[in-house]
């Protein structure tokens, strides 16, 4: 299994705004001796359109995604919501197109979120990382409720040398991102992320870690505006860190 070549599915937000998260994933896979490739034609899984109701546009993005990743052995993504999109929305989009549906399901069955792949598929919980500090973990909705991935990231964090995981209160309550919701209903979204941040601060952890950059971008954006010094890290960044101490 560890020799299987991983095709990196780099969420569009990671690709454009947080490329260091994608690089951290590569560092991690290199250290674990897992070969990986990056299909260069990948763009976006279609989630923004789907969540806003634009299913025709989302279906075209899905067609593109399937064409790009169809020949991949296994597809790994640093975002729970994108994997949720591929696994749960694609079949819905192609419900009336049997041929596409079969292709979509075949791709979906080989698509995993990072922590899910490491723990469930490879049976790894210690990846040789170290991080000296305290962190708290935010459960992203589509990852935890949608894909049922709750323990895997925690197991990986506990396997990191020097790291102390402090659970925050209501770690699985939505951070208020919700895609275009955050822009269309900013007052509600902000009230929600404020509660999330209050819980992060109350945990006393030096950093908040998550598995979905969309939520982390929302939390980071509000932390920065509030002038709070808590660090925001993607799980891949923590797992990539080997002996450099806290931080990215």
């Amino acid at each position: 299994m560890a020799n299987t070549t991983v095709s990196l599915f780099i969420q569009c937000l990671v690709d454009s705004m947080f490329p260091e998260v994608g690089e951290a994933m590569v560092t991690l896979f290199d250290r674990l001796g897992i070969p990986c490739r990056f299909p260069p034609d990948q763009t976006c899984c279609g989630q923004p359109a789907f969540n806003s109701g634009y299913r025709r546009e989302a279906a075209d993005a899905a067609r593109h995604f399937i064409a790009v990743f169809e020949d991949a052995e296994v597809i790994v993504c640093p975002s729970g919501s994108c994997v949720h999109m591929v696994r749960h929305a694609y079949p819905l989009l192609f419900a009336d197109e049997p041929a596409m549906l079969a292709r979509a399901e075949a791709v979906a069955a080989r698509t995993f979120e990072l922590s899910q792949y490491l723990v469930d598929q490879l049976g790894l919980v210690e990846v040789g990382a170290s991080y000296h500090g305290t962190v708290t973990y935010h459960d992203s909705c589509h990852l935890s409720r949608g894909l049922g991935v709750i323990d895997q990231p925690r197991q990986l964090l506990k396997g990191v040398e020097g790291l102390t995981l402090i659970e925050m209160r209501d770690s699985d309550t939505c951070c208020g991102f919700g895609g275009t919701f955050s822009v269309n209903y900013p007052e509600i979204s902000t009230a929600m992320v404020d509660t999330k941040i209050d819980n992060i601060l109350a945990s006393g952890a030096g950093a908040v870690v998550g598995c979905d950059i969309s939520c982390l971008m929302n939390i980071l954006g509000r932390l920065s505006r509030r002038g709070e010094p808590v660090q925001v890290l993607h799980l891949a960044q923590v797992l990539a860190g080997a002996g450099q101490g806290g931080g990215q």
């Binding site: 454009s16 208020g176 209903y185």
Partner: protein, 491 residues
């Protein structure tokens, strides 16, 4: 944060967020009931129960016409009268006619959302009939002249000081903020109304087709009085509120009281099976079965599931959006996640477009729902109607500009070279907005929705794709293919 064109939803949401009372009450309510329900489902001795009840709800919906006919037949056999109301207006007209015929001057109500949906109170009041809510919470909001803001805790937006002042003003008692004193005052006032009313008007939690009886749950005992003391009792039910058999009734009721307040059974369960047999007195029982748009929901496989709802209110107790904004923002008889799905379907998708769009689809409601109603799926389906318009649902396309933007987006994401070029262009355009902290703190147009309260990390100078390419120069034949498609900078 005050942008010019705020919708009613946003305006009411802002008010809710600003109300300390609402925030404190919602938080403790959600912690106790919402999170309590989540734990309860995990610990439920019979984990299959929820799935069984859901299956029986869906089965009932599949045969709704037959089951309703048998309910009506059984109720009539017990001496009750049944009226099938196609619209809200029909239902209200019928209830008014019953009141007139019986020379009713005062109606006492048991808590009923369907009665709010059909708007019967104003109809009765316009005819000079006094309408009094007897559920304590409903009574309080009625005195305050406000709509309820939670399915089972209608006055959750008020604190005891506000209620104390309200009672002092409206009931003429001395100001007090002591809950037992206030409850006693309400009980005293309500008892008088209950004793003198000529008609009781209630909802119906469940109706059982097998036995021809309806059941009502309450913890205050007011329902029992409202259904038995006045000579005329009218119960209003949405036509989906029926179960086929007593066995199904038992399990459904168990989930209802658990979902609502974590109770194995409520303090009172009143079974009403036709008019009481009182010598020397004429008593009437009327069951008004309301369609008001439900047939249309039933006919659409995408939305039929919402009729499986047992109106327990659990989804309100977990929803992080409702937990911030409270019930008034929904501007409808039904609030919270269930309201966000059912109100647009009953009253118009365009009218309630904000309810369709104003959630994060986090999925907590589905998880807590005793019958596992997939509300996020249905919200997404409602957005689909708004995206393109729908003849079937009489829905206009909501936002042509947004639709255009997504068509443009499609053009880009299916053409990698163009997509990459677009990203590079965006990276250039954003430059003047990047501040010293390497964050964007001010944007214009709709994007200001983000930066009014949050910073935004900029688009990176070099995307992951570009960095990868730099480290892994493609082999010649792959290079040719990729260069054609990706338009990646050669660095």
């Amino acid at each position: 944060m005050n942008r010019p064109s705020q919708s009613n939803y946003t305006r009411e949401a802002i008010k809710g967020i600003a109300s300390t009372t609402l925030q404190t009450n919602l938080r403790s309510f959600q912690e106790r009931l919402g999170q309590g329900a989540m734990r309860m489902w995990v610990e439920l001795a019979d984990p299959e129960k929820r799935r069984r009840v859901k299956a029986s709800r869906m089965r009932t919906l599949d045969h709704l016409d037959i089951i309703l006919a048998s309910l009506a037949e059984k109720v009539r056999a017990r001496g009750g009268r049944v009226y099938f109301a196609e619209t809200a207006q029909d239902a209200s007209d019928y209830i008014l006619a019953v009141a007139r015929k019986n020379q009713v001057k005062r109606v006492v109500k048991g808590k009923s959302m369907t009665s709010i949906e059909i708007g019967v109170d104003p109809v009765l009041e316009a005819a000079g009939i006094e309408v009094v809510e007897t559920d304590l919470g409903e009574y309080i909001v009625q005195l305050a002249g406000e709509p309820p803001s939670h399915i089972i805790a209608p006055c959750i937006h008020l604190d005891r000081r506000q209620i104390g002042r309200l009672f002092a003003d409206q009931l003429g008692i001395d100001y007090s903020e002591d809950p037992p004193t206030l409850t006693r005052a309400a009980r005293h006032a309500l008892r008088e109304k209950l004793l003198s009313a000529e008609m009781g008007l209630t909802g119906c939690n469940l109706a059982c087709a097998e036995t021809g009886q309806i059941s009502l749950v309450s913890n205050e005992g007011n329902i029992r009085m409202a259904t038995t003391m006045p000579p005329v009792h009218v119960a209003v039910m949405g036509m989906e509120r029926v179960v086929a058999t007593m066995a199904e009734h038992r399990e459904t009721l168990q989930l209802l009281t658990r979902g609502a307040v974590l109770q194995k059974i409520s303090t009172y369960v009143s079974f009403v099976g036709g008019p009481a047999d009182t010598p020397g007195e004429t008593r009437e029982f009327h069951l008004v079965i309301v369609d008001n748009g439900r047939s249309k929901i039933l006919a659409d496989p995408e939305f039929r599931e919402v009729l499986a709802c047992i109106r327990c209110g659990a989804c309100l107790n977990i929803c992080p959006v409702y937990g911030k904004i409270g019930g008034h923002a929904y501007a409808s008889a039904y609030c919270g996640p269930i309201g966000a799905v059912v109100s647009p379907l009953l009253e118009g998708i365009n009218k309630h477009a904000d309810l369709c769009k104003g959630e994060t689809l986090c999925g907590a409601c589905k998880e807590v729902c005793p019958v596992e109603n997939d509300l996020p799926r249905m919200l997404s389906a409602l957005r689909h109607k708004l995206a393109y318009g729908s003849d079937q649902w009489d829905t206009r396309q909501m936002n042509p500009a947004e639709a255009f933007a997504f068509r443009l987006w499609r053009h880009l994401v299916t053409r990698p070279a163009l997509y990459r070029a677009g990203l590079r262009l965006a990276a250039l355009l954003q430059r003047p907005f990047i501040g010293k902290n390497r964050m964007i703190s001010r944007m214009v147009g709709p994007a200001a929705g983000w930066t009014d309260s949050r910073d935004l990390p900029p688009i990176a100078r070099q995307s992951f794709a570009a960095r990868w390419r730099q480290k892994h120069p493609p082999t010649p034949d792959v290079a040719k293919k990729t260069a054609e498609n990706s338009g990646e900078e050669k660095v």
